[in-house]
């Protein structure tokens, strides 16, 4: 041990652990200087003629400007969606509807590289992730739901499901293209038409998807994509001719949406925040568990609603886990999102970086022990070193509140019951992780955790066939899988 310890002491990760740059070329990514709103199959200028910039968070340079959708634009889009629903989409044989969705899936696969590059430029995520996770999963989502279009009566025994009509969808900035796919694919497969708003800071891949949808010759008005900020979203939520709202974002905004729909006939699904517990028992395969902790909290810069942001380590293996975790964290490369070696890209926006910094201060002020890696970070752009807080207690704000960044709060426990109780002591209930080699313990803990997605001996895995969504204040309804069809259907 002492030899190893000395070796560790000698190894300076910031200088010794280096790779030659391996940048992904951005030359084939076509980004226009300006994007209009996609309404009724055409790109049209926003009613008020206003545009806002979208920037690359890794170098703070402007990528393009996009239309600022207003209530007037939303109304126009809803009318287009309603008309497309009444005249075309609801009358089309289901299998033909499915074919359009298959076509979108295929075209997305073909253009995967361009989408991945733009996703990384606009949102800051590492190209390794946008290339291997976001884009392939988005295509897979369309592929999965395409096949459901003509099989819906098999999904709900004893029922004759029918479409709702027009769906209004509002998506977040952490997985811009993937979230668009999560929303669009089931809505279209179930026969609804859509008005979708991408997040303010990450509109580009949704607009590229609009171009692709145009090329796929999807009937005009079936999908409408409007860029804008909170007001555009509010106009969608409050539009009287929308039948369903699907929102992914913060619990704070989710509650506002739920409240504003109180006197409305609209159905809704909410996929909100989380503060997941990742629980490590002393009989876990520790090296694998450490990989799981890393993937749990540092995947996508920690901008993940289901991130394993609360780590619970059994006391008997605490020293080993923390030592190995710190070592592994030191190898993480923070930097250019387009570099294929990069593990942690740029924080999505200046605002988000400021929020994370505020929580780092709160954590330290509350008395938790702060530790971050010694890696170099680029001077320009929004970057944050992977950070641990040790000796946290349940009442710490960094334990209770969602940070949405590469910040992990660590606590310990002794017994299974204590782990479960601490894990469930949160208003959230989106996800959780359990690490142990003992099967019966896995089933005990996974069945006691009050959360919608549980990863046992793995973390942050996603698949179109796998339902995703939260308990308690983490949301209402499921997306993905058979269960993800239900929010878009009337069961008669």
């Amino acid at each position: 041990m002492t030899v190893k310890a000395e070796a560790r002491a000698r190894l300076n990760f910031s200088t010794d652990w280096t790779y030659a740059p391996a940048p992904e070329s951005a030359s084939h990514a076509q980004i226009k200087p300006r994007y209009d709103l996609f309404i009724n199959g055409k790109f049209v200028a926003p009613a008020k003629g206003e545009y806002f910039d979208t920037i690359n968070p890794s170098n703070e340079k402007k990528l393009a400007e996009v239309g600022q959708g207003t209530g007037e634009d939303v109304d126009k889009a809803v009318r287009a969606a309603r008309s497309a629903y009444d005249k075309v989409w609801s009358k089309m044989p289901a299998k033909e509807r499915g074919k359009y969705i298959y076509r979108i899936a295929r075209m997305l696969q073909e253009r995967a590289r361009e989408f991945a590059v733009i996703e990384s430029m606009d949102g800051g995520k590492a190209i390794r992730e946008s290339r291997d996770v976001d884009v392939p999963l988005a295509a897979a989502h369309f592929f999965y739901y395409a096949g459901w279009a003509d099989k819906l009566e098999y999904a709900f025994p004893g029922k004759q499901p029918t479409a709702l009509g027009v769906a209004g969808q509002i998506i977040p900035w952490n997985f811009p293209l993937l979230m668009a796919a999560w929303k669009l694919a089931p809505a279209l497969a179930t026969g609804n038409t859509v008005v979708l708003k991408p997040a303010e800071t990450t509109p580009l891949t949704a607009l590229k998807l609009a171009e692709l949808i145009q090329e796929a010759e999807l009937p005009p008005g079936v999908v409408n994509i409007l860029t804008g900020a909170g007001e555009t979203g509010a106009a969608i939520v409050n539009h009287p001719d929308i039948d369903k709202i699907a929102f992914t974002g913060s619990t704070e905004v989710g509650k506002i949406i739920q409240k504003s729909l109180a006197s409305s006939r609209k159905k809704f699904t909410l996929e909100l925040g989380g503060k997941a517990a990742n629980i490590i028992f002393d009989d876990a395969p520790i090296d694998q568990a450490v990989e799981g902790i890393i993937n749990g909290i540092f995947f996508n810069q920690g901008h993940v609603c289901c991130a394993g942001s609360r780590l619970f380590v059994q006391e008997s293996c605490y020293d080993e886990v923390v030592r190995k975790l710190k070592d592994r964290m030191e190898t993480l490369i923070v930097g250019d999102p387009l570099d294929k070696n990069t593990d942690i890209g740029a924080i999505n926006s200046k605002m988000q970086l400021e929020k994370i910094h505020e929580y780092l201060k709160i954590g330290a002020d509350d008395g938790a022990e702060q530790w971050c890696t010694s890696c170099n970070v680029p001077e320009k752009g929004y970057f944050c070193r992977p950070t641990l807080f040790l000796n946290c207690s349940q009442s710490h704000r960094i334990v209770q509140e969602e940070i949405f960044g590469p910040v992990l709060a660590v606590q310990t426990f002794r017994t299974v019951e204590e782990a479960i109780e601490k894990a469930n002591n949160t208003p959230y209930g989106l996800s959780g992780g359990v690490w142990t080699d003992k099967g019966s313990k896995i089933f005990k803990v996974t069945s006691k955790l009050r959360a919608g997605v549980i990863w046992a001996n793995t973390y942050n895995k996603f698949d179109p066939t796998s339902p995703f969504g939260g308990y308690k204040e983490s949301g209402v309804g499921r997306e993905g899988g058979l269960h993800g069809l239900l929010p878009y259907l009337n069961l008669n």
């Binding site: 897979a140 025994p157 004893g158 029922k159 619990t251 989710g254 509650k255 506002i256 739920q258 409240k259 729909l261 109180a262 006197s263 909410l270 909100l272 208003p427 896995i442 996974t446 069945s447 009050r450 959360a451 919608g452 997605v453 549980i454 990863w455 046992a456 001996n457 793995t458 895995k461 698949d463 066939t465 796998s466 339902p467 995703f468 969504g469 308990y471 308690k472 204040e473 983490s474 949301g475 209402v476 499921r478 899988g481 058979l482 269960h483 069961l491």
Partner: protein, 320 residues
Amino acid sequence: MAQRKRNGKGNGHTQTMERRTRMTSQAESEHVDQPQRLRVLKTYKIYIGGKFPRTESGRYYLLKNSSGEGLANVCLSSRKDFREAVVAARSAQSKWAGASAYNRGQVLYRIAEMLEGRSQQFVSELIEQGADPSQAQNEVTLSIDRVLYYAGWSDKYQQVFSSVNPVASSHFNFSILEPTGVVSIIAPEDTGLLGLISTIAPTIVGRNTCIALASESKPLSAVTLAEVLATSDLPGGVVNLLTGTRKELVEHFANHMDVNACVYCGNDAKEIETVRTKASLNVKRAIVIDRKNWTDTSAQSPYFILDTQEVKTTWHPVGI
């Protein structure tokens, strides 16, 4: 209305009919020629945590029949009663959720058995509260059958609604249903027994615990149902029954932070808005059921169980 009479048969129907002597003139029964015996009258209490407390508020309302005669003093439950009921429901939740499907099926079957044994009492109470005899009989038999219907679902709905998901990566992945947790229920106003049973049964067979507010105008069946539940192997706290007014309680049923779902039966636009608005405080599931006819078979379905369920998806790697 059935005529008031006293005979030696001890028929449950006539026994309960006599309750009204407490509220009306004692002299009305003087003409009966049997030696006078003072009836032991029933006090209608609420049901919290398996016990029968009076409302902590000390307030009551006088329930009258259609002729304006008093039938019973009924508890006007308060916010505090509701909060106590939530504590009871929360304490009972984990154990009830952990009971086996087989066991829950048997408990519900036992409730049906006990209802059957008490059916005449329910019939006469419904008549007292304004139903005609055939209607009352029908409501009671349907109620018994409805409990039985959901008893049968206890070990089946999971099989119908869960899934094994064929993910592309090397993982075993499955989705099952779990209870939402503690559910508050504003039971239908126009049916005293059937509506209450039709909302409670799918909630508890789905491993939730609940607090239900009985029909304000027909509360007697709820209290008698509580007596059935208390003697039918259902653990205390799984079902809690309150009587009182919607006007006072709807808001509290919807805004309590330790309630996971609120089932509202009715069509009062203002109350629905209150339920949905308050539900947003903790992203409560608000389920609004606007149904006139609870006797129809469409009023029972496993999809009503689904209303208060959460889908949990679990992943595990496949490998060595």
